[in-house]
Amino acid sequence: MTRFTAAFGKPRTALVAFITAGDGDTAANLDALVAGGADVIELGMPFTDPMADGPAIQAANLRSLAKGTTTADIFAIATLFRARHPDTPLVLMGYANPMTIRGDDWFAAECAKAGVDGVICVDIPAEEDPELGPALRAAGLDLIRLATPTTDTARLPAVLSGAGGFLYYVSVAGITGQQQAAQASIDEAVVRLKAATDLPVAVGFGVRTPEQAAQIARVADGVVVGSAFIDIIAEHGDAAAPYVETFTRSLVDAIHGAKEIAA
């Protein structure tokens, strides 16, 4: 059993939480996410040109880079996280260039060494899988793929081929941190995706409140929340951890309640 299957095998929908590495006190915020009940953690690798991100996560990337965060720092954060939290799945999420610049094998080996479970690369679609996919799979890591409202049924098998961990459904055609998709379109998409794969399906983009999370939790295996955490860190800086923990707990409570109602 992998950390992913354990995290998504719980009786309730999983909370997948995203924060940007090096923005604020990352170690403390990661601990707060785990303490608050987050089931899976996505750690963003900052990039100068985050093309798929909205203003909040763009700013987090720039804050982190302005503090001098390096790739080595990110692997150090991951390694220490793994030592403190042996069971929580950790995903690195980011863009192709920082991931591939020293070679795909190097990146995969560093991820494995640091105890990272999976990788999401925003700008390597299935068509460019050879860039990173084979190296990650050979190192025992899951490559987590994204499906979007523009991913039609004909294309879905290509997206799922070589995918692992969970399937991340980006519920809006757009960038992070913007409006939320209509719940009906999410419900429909999750049904369609679950018919096509045994992987757990997590839904994200535009999820900011416990109420929204609860709505999605009725149908999905996971709910991804990112920009809302980033906003808390932007507001409270290095002292954000207690606020992160409180917000995490509010999300988890709402998600928990949702499955009980559904059951």
Binding site: M51, T70, Y95, P98, T100, V122, P125, A147, T150, R155
Partner: protein, 403 residues
């Protein structure tokens, strides 16, 4: 040794790769659209009506063919090879950029898209895009870094007169690469009705291919014109390279003519030891804006800022086909500094009565360096990619002249 194909003109492969470069490194949201664009482009290529409309507009709207001008006084002054200028500066809107915009807006129309977006640095591509959008009556949004908006006010006003909305991009370093990021962000959220007219031979496949094809009219004409003027092919081609669209447009029809030497000119800014925009001379392969190519970046793969006096060359990447032509050695890429370009800007203006764009002045500077080393029986074609009226403020500023 790389195994070279029989022809260097067959790329990219079906996955959009030129050797290891190019490709489709985009978010999943865009991938279906990129595939759709490729299907429509293939259909357009096979449709004589598409080519006929493109040719008609280039002739009657853009004013093609552009002349191939024998620069006799410059040639005499340099005392070496004969220099011909391909006069893209005489096109409507004053640069080669319009060739590509005509082709892409025809594609947009074919695809039933009703809104146009584009990125721009200096504003040349923005003006060309706003122009074709006006011609076709389509609403148009131009993304431009806030820093560039401030330093290119005349072009901003031109775009607005043409009916475009100009969005000043405040993210990142607020220059061309950030404008491209923002255009991609907008596109991801509006894929259903919006066509993105990319301004150079970069971005995800099939953009580098289709922009090259639309710009190849430059080289096709030059080939015919030099055969008529001299009865033979040139010995050398020289063109400035930002993303590389004017250069590949001139080069591509000559790639298989082994006796034609080809030189691309990168902006060396303050010099290769200082701030510059020479991606091949000072960068490494990486992935940005949908393609794998040479990029200015640090050891962690963070993109670094480019610098050139010429806003159109001020980009930390280069089109993937150029990266490939560089690696296989078919094209030689040489750096030219701000100072050299400034000197050539003035020299060409005085000797030929042609004010070149600062981008084009980089190619003139390379020609000045090379021509005297070649005999008078040799022939060089230099791409005068645009006119310099847009640059007079920058040049005045650099020369310490107050306007």
């Amino acid at each position: 040794m790389t195994d070279l194909p029989n022809s260097l003109r067959t790329g990219p492969d079906e996955r959009g790769h030129f050797g290891q470069f190019g490709g489709r490194y985009v978010a999943e949201t865009l991938m279906p659209l990129i595939l759709d664009l490729e299907r429509h482009y293939r259909a357009a290529q096979a449709d004589p009506a598409f080519k006929a409309e493109f040719d008609y507009l280039l002739k009657h709207y853009v004013g093609r063919p552009s002349p191939l001008w024998f620069a006799e006084r410059l040639t005499e002054h340099l005392g070496g090879a004969k220099i011909y200028l391909k006069r893209e500066d005489l096109n409507h809107t004053g640069a080669h950029k319009i060739n590509n915009c005509i082709g892409q807006i025809l594609l947009a129309k074919r695809m039933g898209k009703t809104k146009i977006i584009a990125e721009t640095g200096a504003g040349q591509h923005g003006v060309a895009t706003a122009t074709v959008a006006a011609l076709f009556g389509l609403p148009c949004t131009i993304f431009m870094g806030a820093v560039d908006v401030a330093r290119q006010q005349p072009n901003v006003f031109r775009m607005k007169l043409l009916g475009a909305e100009v969005v000043a991009v405040e993210s990142g370093a607020k220059t061309l690469k950030d404008a491209m990021n923002e255009a991609l962000r907008h596109w991801v959220a509006n894929v259903h009705d919006t066509f993105y007219i990319i301004g150079t031979v970069a971005g995800p496949h099939p953009y580098p291919e289709l922009v090259r094809d639309f710009q190849s009219v430059i080289g096709d004409e030059a080939r015919e014109q030099i055969l008529e003027a001299e009865g033979r092919l040139p010995d050398m081609l020289i063109a400035p390279v930002g993303g590389g669209s004017n250069a590949i447009g001139l080069f591509h029809p000559f790639l298989d003519d082994a006796d034609v030497e080809i030189v691309g000119v990168e902006a060396a800014g303050e010099g290769l030891d200082g701030k510059h925009a020479a991606s091949l001379a000072g960068g490494r392969p990486g992935i940005l804006h949908g393609n794998k190519t040479y990029l200015l970046q640090d050891e962690d793969g963070q993109i670094t800022e480019a610098h050139s006096i010429s806003a159109g060359l001020d980009y930390p990447g280069i089109g993937p086909e150029h990266s490939w032509l560089h690696e296989i050695g078919r094209v030689r890429y040489e750096p030219v500094t701000d100072a050299e370009a400034l000197a050539s800007f003035q020299k060409l203006t005085k000797l030929e009565g042609i004010i070149p764009a600062l981008e084009s002045a980089h190619a003139i500077a390379a020609a000045e360096r090379i021509a005297p080393t070649l005999g008078p029986d040799k022939i060089i074609i230099v791409n005068c990619s645009g006119r310099g009226d847009k640059d007079i403020f920058t040049v005045a500023d650099a020369l310490g002249v107050e306007l």
